[in-house]
Symmetry: C2
Subunit: 226 residues, 2 copies
DNA sequence: TGCATCGGATACGTTCATGTATCGAAAGCC
DNA sequence: GGCTTTCGATACATGAACGTATCCGATGCA
């Protein structure tokens, strides 16, 4: 459960009324943090760098956050939640296409952003050192699966396939996503990498589902789904 | 191409004769670096932490390395080369087993070490910011594939399967390895994670190979390979 | 064993980031 | 529009990490 917005900024006592500008500065600091962390790395980033980027001085930072660690966590939670929303929206947009097109559309809608990748890779590594952060990451991955799986399972069913072990498929999809994201970023210009990525997703979808006994005979597919 | 050992330690001119203890200190610094980076994170680690851990003062460090970045690179190259050797050895040990056992044996032989994972995740993120480091990482991944693929392809052939696109299989295996390694570290006690990991590897091996037309009819397998 | 070179320890000075305490301007309430 | 509260700016003190210049014990060679 994330920290409530009030308690984070406690100076002496919690402020009785919160002004509008506070929200703006907090947002700008969070945005600046992503950029700075991505460019410099979390460990090398300083409070002043972030404030400068956001257009403030350190006073603004210490009025809004206790430490860089707290900002790091807040930023990660916000961005990863946003990414999850984007994912949800992208999946809702391409519900009825056949598997191959659906996968390509979904991958195109969730571009691999290298700034975010760098930051989240570092955050994951950081979380492995800190039990409470570790739990946060695990919970987020669970949320991702809870979002993705129903859509994917439904889409596969429309294509006449049944998923025997949804949890296994969920983990496999996440692993493939993460693993191939690195490859995409390492060789950003290679079209082959993107194709292999999409192909791997398709293979996984195929491997984790079986042709369902047609309750009502489905429209015979012109090409086999594999 | 890694830097030659001499040029790294140039003080005024390259030393004419190199003593034995220099090798020891360099090694201890490299070993200490892995530990410290894993515990503290690369960006937060200091020269003094590493020297203290290794049992030296900063003088030893600056006599052997120019900067923390150089040490980071040297350490990564050494460890990842060592890991590649271990992998080679592990693959050589289990050549003739059927796919399922072979995969499990290989995964057991290459345990997911969290210290190394943390460090290499950070290194990868770091490399994405630095073109020359990026090339180093790409080259290393290529080397891994060149090591793994022949063995895997041969093993599959013994099992009566042919690999159509070895490069695609190589990338898929690396992606799956990296992606599932995180999951293993995030939930170290869950046996299910390990099983899903092995299953995913098997699925990939299966998806990227096809039953080969038997040149000589193979001994009929009692159970199907999948 | 004596001697020249090497390699790590020590001792600087400097820079940089941190966190706090205080001040003044902007924002909300009447 | 005056008054109070909030919030970010400023100033300051402190500590930590850096990199270098120098010194002296260790090491290898004859």
């Amino acid at each position: 459960m994330p920290t409530t917005p009030e308690q984070a900024s406690a100076r002496h006592a919690a402020p009785q009324r919160v002004t509008a500008r506070r929200g703006r500065t907090r947002r700008r600091l969070l945005d600046a943090a992503l950029e700075v962390f991505a460019e410099t790395g979390f460990g090398r980033s300083t409070v002043e760098q972030i404030c400068e980027r956001a257009g403030y001085t350190r006073g603004a930072f210490y009025s809004n956050f206790v430490s860089l660690d707290e900002l790091f966590l807040a930023m990660w939670e916000e961005r990863s939640a946003r990414m999850l929303d984007d994912l949800r929206a992208a999946l809702a947009d391409v519900p009825s296409a056949p598997p191959r097109e659906a996968v390509q559309a979904a991958l195109a809608a969730i571009p691999v952003e290298d700034a975010w990748y760098r930051v989240s890779a570092e955050f994951t590594a950081h979380a492995l050192r800190n039990p409470s952060l570790r739990d946060v990451v695990v919970a987020r991955e669970q949320a991702i699966q809870d979002t993705v799986l129903p859509v994917v399972v439904a889409a596969l069913e429309r294509a006449g396939r049944r998923v025997a072990d949804p949890a296994a498929l969920g983990h496999a999809l996440v692993a493939v996503h993460d693993g191939t994201a690195v490859q995409v970023l390492l060789e950003p210009d290679a079209a082959a990498v993107h194709e292999r990525r999409a192909a791997l997703f398709l293979n996984v979808l195929d491997a984790y589902s079986t042709p369902a006994p047609p309750d009502r005979p489905p429209t015979a597919p012109p090409t086999s789904p594999s």
